[in-house]
């Protein structure tokens, strides 16, 4: 039976092709937005990166739940890596969003947008996860505390995601509503390819980081055995 890591090189190649195709679609195929002009092209990577950050936090919380249920260290490591990648993608969301805000609204940040503030709260909550995790000694206590914290944080994901729809926020644009995507077919196709590319890229990064962490643990065990 092949391990999940044996597919990683092929998936990494596919992710590279998809990212390349997304860039071609973004810069050479998708039409320019009549309202925002060229700065709207940030949308094609900014939104998939934000959705991937939500997915990573959700994945980390799911693995945390599995850890609390089964007490298997494998789930603790998977939860940690998921949350780590979530914060990487979360920081990219904040950075690209801030640049887009400056291009569109003339400001880097606004505290009056519920979606922006709630995303920042979500990001800071998970950034604090690492402070908690590394302030406790390695062992079952650290794993349990980290898992409980990861589960608490996941509540913020739907709150952050639906904030713009729940509150009357007219600053941050709503592209997807009940009538469907508010963009042309080419723009939507470009968005879908970029979304697939970023999701696959995140999965590859997840598998590579997880393999690195597992290798690290094996080397540590080997060192202890040979001591």
């Amino acid at each position: 039976m092949s391990s999940p890591n044996s597919r990683v090189p092929a998936l990494a190649a596919l992710a590279t092709v998809l990212v390349g195709a997304s860039l071609v679609l973004v810069f050479f195929v998708a039409p320019e937005d009549a309202d925002q002009g060229i700065s709207q092209r940030i949308f094609y990577f900014h939104v998939p990166i934000a959705l991937t950050a939500y997915a990573c936090f959700g994945w980390g919380a799911l693995k945390a739940l599995l850890y609390l249920w089964r007490k298997d260290d494998r789930y603790d490591l998977e939860s940690y890596v998921g949350i780590h990648l979530g914060t990487v993608f979360g920081s990219l969301t904040l950075l690209t969003g801030s640049i887009w805000a400056k291009a569109s609204w003339g400001i880097w940040w606004t505290w009056s947008s519920n979606q922006l503030v709630l995303f920042l709260v979500l990001f800071l909550f998970y950034a604090a996860y690492f402070m908690l995790r590394f302030s406790v000694e390695d062992g079952p206590r650290r794993s349990s505390l980290s898992a409980v914290y990861a589960l608490f944080g996941v509540v913020l994901v739907p709150v952050s995601f639906f904030a713009i729809r729940l509150a009357s926020d007219f600053i941050h644009p709503t592209v997807f509503n009940r009538e469907g995507p508010q963009m042309s077919g080419t723009m939507f196709a470009t968005f879908c390819v970029a979304w697939a590319a970023i999701t696959l890229l995140a999965y590859v990064l997840y598998r590579v980081e997880l393999a690195g962490k597992r290798l690290d643990l094996s080397v540590r065990e080997l060192r202890e055995a040979l001591a």
């Binding site: 950075l95 640049i99 291009a103 990064l205 290798l215 690290d216 080997l222």
Partner: protein, 51 residues
């Protein structure tokens, strides 16, 4: 280059730099693991030869 183009280049540049940084960190980690593994393999060989 217009202001809009500069912002788009900055946004995509940030994504590229962060991903590149991630690759550099993972590469550094793999180099460390390779070094540690070689050291442990050497220690295991010494034990086998002694024993």
């Amino acid at each position: 280059m217009s202001a809009g183009e500069k912002y788009v280049a900055a946004a995509y540049g940030v994504i590229f730099v962060v991903l590149l940084l991630w690759v550099v960190i993972i590469a550094a980690k793999l180099t460390r693991l390779e070094r540690e593994l070689a050291e442990l393999a050497g220690r295991a060989r010494e034990r086998r030869d002694d024993g």
